[in-house]
């Protein structure tokens, strides 16, 4: 035992709270491996997740009484396996799986008996399961944070500003959906690989972007959410060292997160790229991002959408000022990105880059074409960029009208303030 349960005479509540935090910490570190191991043994992800949650509940009671075990991850795994055997016994389904698990439990340090590589394979299966295409995006996000990231339901609810019951419901439904679809606990076939990997990386990046530019709430950014995404991204990149896009996603998130500090003024209002003090960018984080992009490039498979976006972020990160930014290179990168992953937001960003490299009139032409196509209708992005470009062209009345329209459309209170301020200046 590593620690006494609680000092004699100390507050029992404080002791229980301390144990809760210790269990949470162990769960953070071990959840993916435990759920993956149990799913592998039982062949039933949903049940495995229930079993591990029950093991965690047992830990709260037993560790408070007896102290934290020497190897808490192995303890949780063993307890969950024992619960699986009990479950089979009750259902009188004592087949080969039961014998295999029972055998495992008689071996000392059962979890350590498996090689780390095999364990990684199971964790990878878990990642693909949590991001399975039969699940809604919301369900994928909740399940990934819960089983891969090791977050509690309460933590996920707090991060997404939704009630705990909502997250609970999402997870219960996700597990039912996976069971109904009979989703196998396997990594995808080569024919599906690219799409399924894209889905995993997409879930991670969606969590990041919600933290990077919150679509709701009265805060402009929610860095703690972006930080969870970064952690998940590093986990996935570690599991798939040969996948350039997994490395590139980490690069992109590191490079964008390096600007977090400069993106918010002391009163919580957003500071836009042009106005940010670049001395406030996190150089260590930029270094990690640049290194991750180099790792992606070294794999020699060419640049995918995340690598191109990371390369754009790198252009900004290494530029001493807005004026000294290599906007021509950014235009080229956006053109490449627009070709392999056509997207109106990318097109809008290309317009901004063109306006910096060539001039606002050229940028405006691209925005007008985009606007005429009807893409992004209802979003504040088009009028916001259009207003900006019109202001630079000295067309103040039109600029003001666009910026006010943009302010009406955004759901983020902080962003609305910025747009109204710009309209007032136009």
């Amino acid at each position: 035992m590593r620690a006494p349960s609680a000092d004699a005479g100390s507050d029992a509540h404080a002791g229980a709270d301390r144990i809760r935090r210790t269990v949470d910490a162990v769960w953070r570190i071990e959840s993916a491996r435990i759920v993956a191991t149990l799913t592998k043994s039982t062949g039933d992800f949903s049940w495995a997740e229930d079993l591990t949650q029950e093991a965690v509940a047992d830990a709260l009671v037993q560790w408070a009484r007896d102290g934290v075990p020497q190897n808490p991850g192995a303890w949780l795994t063993a307890v969950a396996k024992r619960k699986a055997i009990d479950g089979w016994r009750r259902r009188e389904r004592l087949d080969d799986r039961y014998r295999a698990l029972a055998h495992d439990l008689t071996e000392a340090a059962a979890t350590d008996a498996r090689s780390p590589d095999l364990l990684d394979d199971d964790v990878l299966r878990l990642v693909f399961t949590a991001c399975h295409p039969v699940l809604s995006r919301e369900a994928q996000i909740a399940l990934t944070l819960r089983v891969v990231g090791g977050l509690s339901t309460e933590e996920i609810a707090r991060l997404f500003l939704v009630p705990v019951a909502t997250v609970q419901q999402r997870i219960v439904r996700a597990k039912k959906t996976l069971a109904a679809a009979k989703a196998p606990f396997e990594t995808p076939d080569p024919s599906e690989w690219a799409a399924r990997l894209g889905s995993v990386l997409g879930v991670v990046y969606l969590i990041f972007t919600e933290g990077y530019a919150a679509t709701s709430g009265d805060r402009w950014m929610r860095p703690e959410l972006a930080q969870e995404a970064l952690r998940l991204g590093r986990v996935v990149a570690g599991l798939l060292p040969r996948e350039a896009e997994a490395q590139a996603l980490v690069a992109l998130m590191e490079l964008q997160a390096s600007r977090f500090g400069a993106r918010t003024a002391s009163d919580g209002s957003p500071v836009l790229l042009a106005d940010q003090d670049r001395a406030r960018w996190d150089r260590a984080q930029i270094g990690r991002g640049v290194a991750a992009l180099a790792r992606a490039d070294e794999l020699g498979r060419g640049r995918g959408p995340f690598a191109l976006q990371a390369a754009i972020a790198e252009c900004h990160a290494v530029a001493p000022s807005v004026e000294e930014t290599d906007w021509e290179r950014i235009v080229v990168l956006y053109e490449a990105l627009g070709r392999i992953a056509p997207n109106p937001v990318v097109e809008l960003n290309r317009a901004v880059a063109v306006s910096m490299a060539v001039g606002p009139a050229s940028g405006l032409r691209i925005v007008d074409e985009l606007s005429a196509s009807g893409a992004l209708r209802g979003s504040h992005l088009v009028p916001s960029v259009r207003g900006e470009l019109l202001a630079r062209l000295g067309r103040s009345d039109e600029a003001r009208a666009e910026l006010l329209a943009a302010a009406q459309l955004t759901a983020n209170a902080r962003e609305r303030d910025v747009l109204l301020a710009k309209a007032a200046r136009a």
């Binding site: 590593r2 935090r21 210790t22 949470d24 910490a25 162990v26 953070r28 570190i29 808490p72 780390p116 990684d120 950014m221 860095p223 703690e224 972006a226 930080q227 970064l230 952690r231 998940l232 991204g233 590093r234 986990v235 570690g238 599991l239 997160a257 390096s258 977090f260 500090g261 400069a262 993106r263 918010t264 003024a265 002391s266 919580g268 003090d277 001395a279 406030r280 996190d282 260590a284 984080q285 990690r288």
Partner: protein, 140 residues
């Protein structure tokens, strides 16, 4: 939140490690680092070269006196550090307790400061600047 794990080892333990299989030490440290990289928590760290190569700048006198290592009276030597980005103090403690270290070694675990540590000095000009630099609760 970020924590620094600072490795502190007695001079005797450092000497004793000279007789150990160095490759074994590298393998154990490598596996430990890899486990933290795979968990997405290790964001920095390095080992330090022999204290004999180091030197001390002592501010007990003005101008400060520079003395070559290994610094005479010191009982424990800093030999390296890790920087982790974790969700709680308990998680930092959990990772620290897994380090492949033996008797004579300690890990000092220190949280790296963030804005919340300077709230009492909120009016200080540099603290205000710092808050702007980093953004409320921002990463980095």
């Amino acid at each position: 939140m970020k924590y620094m794990l600072i490795m502190r080892t007695t001079a005797e333990a450092v000497e004793a490690s000279a007789s150990m299989d160095f490759e074994e030490i590298i393998n154990a440290m490598g596996a430990y680092n890899e486990s933290m990289i795979k968990a997405g928590v290790l964001i920095g760290g390095d080992g330090l070269t022999d204290a004999k190569e180091g030197f001390v700048v002592d501010f007990n006198s003005q101008p400060p006196v520079v003395t070559d290592g290994p610094y005479g009276e010191v009982h424990e030597l800093f030999n390296g550090f890790w920087i982790l980005e974790v969700s709680s103090r308990e998680e930092a403690a959990e990772w620290a307790s897994r380090a492949p270290l033996g008797p004579g070694s300690k890990l000092e675990v220190r949280r790296i400061t963030d804005q919340s540590d300077f709230e009492d000095f909120a009016d200080n000009e540099y603290i205000k600047k710092e808050k702007e630099w980093r953004g409320e609760g921002a990463i980095g």
